[in-house]
């Protein structure tokens, strides 16, 4: 017996986001590199940082009031969208966004190729879809944030370097000028000069090359920046928060 108001495929947390209150939402997409170069310690650190950040997110009454999180990973044979800790099948109809208080971090493993371009395109699509979804249901939103993290260069499905990412540059420039979202592009580990240049081209204002794998600091910066967005802070404040973060150095740095 099924009730039309409660389709069986609708998970409880999804229902909550519609029903709990009419708070203005802030969609956040973590777009994370899980290709083979991240294997070992970096991946362990990323998983640990995700767990810690998730706990902090739950404890932060104010952040968890309006933030909703989706995760996109690129590694293995392709690109994966996660709804909290669960990978979604490619044609899934449910939204990958989970309200912060119900978010559970996925446990990620590293392998395969670096489909950065495709992952970023997918991130843009889910952000656009979510905005439409929120708007049509009468919910307001702050400017979404997308946080891209990689330690390498974009490849194609066979693992060969590709310039396909260049097709994204005009799209990103246009979208950011229209304030559709704010993209952060962060290089970690031993990312090459060329890798850093790609990130600079993708996110001219909010790119950084970090030594080591300071994922915890990175996620905290995202939280600070979201807090500032919710306070109605302008671009200067966001730039300051990012600059503060960028000057930090990981203990991993020799």
């Amino acid at each position: 017996m099924s009730d039309e108001r409660h389709p069986e495929t609708l998970p409880a947390s999804y229902e909550d986001i519609e029903f709990d209150n009419n708070a203005q939402r802030l969609p956040l997409v973590l777009c994370l590199d899980t290709s083979s170069s991240m294997a070992g310690v970096p991946m362990e650190m990323l998983n640990k940082a995700l767990q810690d950040w998730t706990r902090e997110l739950h404890d932060d009454v104010s952040l968890s009031y309006s933030v909703e999180v989706a995760v996109v990973t690129f590694g293995g044979q392709g690109v994966t969208v996660w709804r909290g800790a669960q990978p979604l099948p490619p044609q899934a109809s449910v939204s990958p966004f989970v309200p912060a208080y119900a978010f559970q971090a996925p446990v990620l493993t590293a392998a395969g190729v670096t489909l950065l371009t495709e992952a970023l395109e997918l991130a843009l699509r889910i952000v656009a879809a979510r905005k439409t979804e929120l708007r049509t249901s009468g919910l307001q939103y702050y400017r979404p944030q997308i946080c891209l993290v990689t330690d390498g260069l974009p490849t194609d499905g066979t693992g060969h370097l590709t310039n396909a990412w260049q097709r994204l540059v005009p799209v990103l420039t246009n979208d950011q000028a229209a304030r559709r979202y704010r993209l952060y592009a962060i290089g970690v580990g031993n990312i090459s000069d060329m890798g850093a240049q790609v990130l600079e081209a993708l996110a001219p204002e909010f790119n950084a090359r970090l030594h080591g794998f300071p994922f915890r600091e990175l996620l905290q910066m995202m939280s600070n920046s979201i807090n500032a967005e919710r306070r109605g802070a302008g671009e200067e404040i966001q730039a300051k928060i990012f600059a503060d973060f960028r000057t930090q150095r990981s203990a991993w740095d020799a």
Partner: protein, 388 residues
């Protein structure tokens, strides 16, 4: 933000050590714990604050706001007033110390605005009447501050904390606007939070009692509707982002002008507010948006809330359901029956079996209501025919 390079700061001539990580970091400042002093926190400005900010804090240390008034047993102070200026070892002004009002004892007001947080962070019996009581305390605090010549200025659900008894404390006292009674120097409020800023503040105007009245009205409305913002909703045919700020600036509130925006189907009907309170809300979110003088003041809210808290009804059917005396039946039960969402109680599992049971329960209710209606109709028809 990390702690200043040297984590040692001077408070009242004494060297203390700040914890390595801030408890809270915003755009302008971060709040740090003090090693070995759990009752104290230190707010450190991100950028070197100006001489004016230092004079402001020095002046505040000599003031006793809301002083000499009785507070009940167990009631925390209403203001997290500065207790000392924080300086570097070289004497540079860095920020200030205040009493710590942290979790679990003190929760940001926004914690009352979602069910999950209410159930997790507040006493089990937290209900609508409690929310109303918190609104009363908020109005009381505001009225007292206004009486003492203080303007809250940056008034939001983030910088007010609530304890388990519903007592409220205002946290960011360094942004309060006041005039030095001796030098007549004016210390304006330079901070604001978009969701609670009156249009004249969004346009760059100074913080006033009237702008406090606007924020107070929004906060009380949110408390009385379990968290709904009166300027939520998206204008019809909107193609791009609309924020709460936009709706405030354009005077679009579904409370004052029903139908002016698309609201989520989950939004609680404004009529859950008792008529007197709804009138005040409609004044604040209707004419009061553009005309600051039309907004109800803190004292007016106080009188209206006072009346209602004595009259609130308790639902006999479900726990944590209380509601205004103007309603014939429990609005929270009615809503749960229609949407499956109980504002004050955790939703039962929606596994298919449970769901079946729930909807058959709802169906049974509908059937029995229909039977009652038929009987009523028959009685009326009989009565009418008898009169003829």
């Amino acid at each position: 933000m990390t702690a200043p390079a040297e984590r040692g700061v001077i408070l009242d001539g004494r060297l203390v050590t700040l914890g390595p990580r801030p408890l809270k970091g915003g755009g302008q400042a971060a709040v740090f714990p003090v090693v070995g002093h759990d009752e104290t926190v230190v707010k450190i400005y991100r950028e070197a604050p100006g001489a004016e900010q230092e004079r402001r804090l020095q002046r505040m240390l000599n003031m006793t706001p809301l002083g000499g008034r009785p507070i009940g047993p167990g009631q925390p102070p209403e203001l997290a007033w500065p207790t000392a200026v924080a300086r570097s070892r070289e004497g540079r002004f860095l920020g200030y110390a205040m009493r710590r009002f942290g979790e679990p004892g003190h929760v940001q007001l926004v914690g009352l605005f979602t069910r999950a947080q209410r159930l997790r962070l507040f006493p089990e019996r937290t209900d609508w009447r409690f929310m109303l009581g918190v609104g009363w305390n908020l109005a009381f605090m505001t009225a007292r501050m206004h009486h003492d010549g203080l303007v809250v200025g940056d008034f939001s659900s983030n910088n007010v904390v609530v304890d388990a008894d519903g007592f409220v404390t205002f946290l960011d006292c360094d942004s309060i606007a006041f005039t030095d009674s001796v030098t007549r120097e004016e210390f304006p409020c330079l901070m604001q939070t978009a969701d609670y800023a009156a249009p004249e503040r969004l346009a760059g105007g100074p913080a006033t009692r009237r702008s406090d009245d606007f924020a107070l009205a929004v906060l009380i409305y949110q408390l009385l509707t379990a968290g709904n913002h009166p300027f939520g909703g998206v204008p019809h045919d909107s193609e791009s982002e609309t924020t709460v700020k936009d709706n405030i600036a354009a005077s679009r509130s579904y409370v004052a002008r029903p139908g002016c925006v698309i609201v989520p189907r989950s939004v609680i009907d404004p009529t859950v507010l008792p008529p007197v309170l709804l009138d005040l809300a409609r004044r604040a979110f209707g004419p009061g948006v553009t005309d600051p003088a039309a907004r109800p003041g803190a004292a007016e809210w106080l009188r209206a809330l006072d009346e209602e808290r004595r009259l609130a009804k308790v639902c006999p059917d479900r726990p944590r359901h209380s509601y205004g005396s103007h309603l014939p039946t429990c609005p929270w039960c009615a809503r749960a029956a229609v949407t499956g969402h109980d504002v004050f109680n955790a939703t039962v599992s929606i596994r298919p079996t449970e769901e079946g049971r729930q909807s058959s329960g709802a169906r049974a209710l509908v059937v029995s209501l229909a039977i009652v209606l038929v009987i009523v109709a028959v009685v009326i028809v009989v009565a009418l025919s008898l009169r003829n």
